[in-house]
């Protein structure tokens, strides 16, 4: 049975490479045969905002959308999402606006490894 990794990331889509690192880690783990869950908490929720248009940097929203199609499960904290003025429907396809209690708990309880990416 494939091992499961959860990536918990808490920094935003801009100003740091953390979200990009999270995406790259998810890709690498998937390539190694891991089942991967990702959960955005705090500023991390901004990475799943639909319609990002960075001029010079990788578009982490598009990258997350792409790896979601490859089976990487993604959810973000609804409280954190709403606190930043985002509403359901503003998230990229493949990401779920969920909760710590339901989604993150499920991810963690299924996991063999948990990696936290934050500052």
């Amino acid at each position: 049975m494939a091992k499961t990794l959860t990536i918990l990331w808490r920094t935003g889509s801009m100003m740091a490479m953390d979200a990009n690192v999270a995406v790259n880690l998810a890709k690498a783990a998937t390539a190694k045969g891991y089942r991967v869950h990702m959960f955005g908490y705090g500023e991390g929720v901004t990475a799943v905002k639909k319609g990002q248009r960075p001029k010079r940097f990788p578009n982490v929203g598009e990258e997350l959308e792409e790896i979601a199609k490859q089976g990487v499960t993604q959810a973000v904290c609804e409280t954190c999402f709403a606190a930043r003025g985002f509403e359901r429907g503003e998230e990229i396809p493949g990401a779920k606006v969920g909760s710590l209690t339901n989604d993150l708990f499920k991810f963690v309880s299924e996991s063999d490894r948990l990696v936290t990416i934050a500052r």
Partner: protein, 118 residues
């Protein structure tokens, strides 16, 4: 499959949201029945001070967020040496916290399947 998680709180309260976020994550795991433990270390020990006044900065109370964990029997440890290094006497801590010597940290870590840091 993980049955337990250790939540490390390394940041002081207020100013940044990290400590509060870690306490809420611990609550979310504990309410689902997962064995959950919180460890305050480094600057995280400032969260243990009983005389915090979060209303002064209009922020939610990290003391209340910590005490909510007690309802789900989530133990909260504070590292003794990190208290000492910051001049915080144990008499200054709020109730329910457990002071832990640093040489016990390894044992606490190995008791849990997963760990996350705030």
């Amino acid at each position: 499959m993980a049955n337990s998680i250790l939540v490390l709180i390394t940041k002081a309260p207020y100013g940044v949201e990290e400590a509060f976020a870690g306490l809420r994550l611990a609550l979310a795991m504990g309410v689902n029945g997962m064995k959950t433990t919180v460890l305050m270390l480094e600057d995280g020990v400032f969260n243990a001070v009983s005389t915090q006044k979060p209303e002064a900065v209009r922020m939610p109370s990290n003391i209340e967020a910590t005490k909510e964990l007690y309802d789900f029997e989530i133990p909260v440890y504070v590292v003794k040496e990190d208290l000492d290094a910051r001049g915080i006497p144990e008499s200054k801590l709020f109730d329910g916290l457990k002071v832990l010597p640093a040489d016990k940290l390894k044992g606490l870590l190995t008791e849990h399947d997963l760990a996350t840091t705030f």
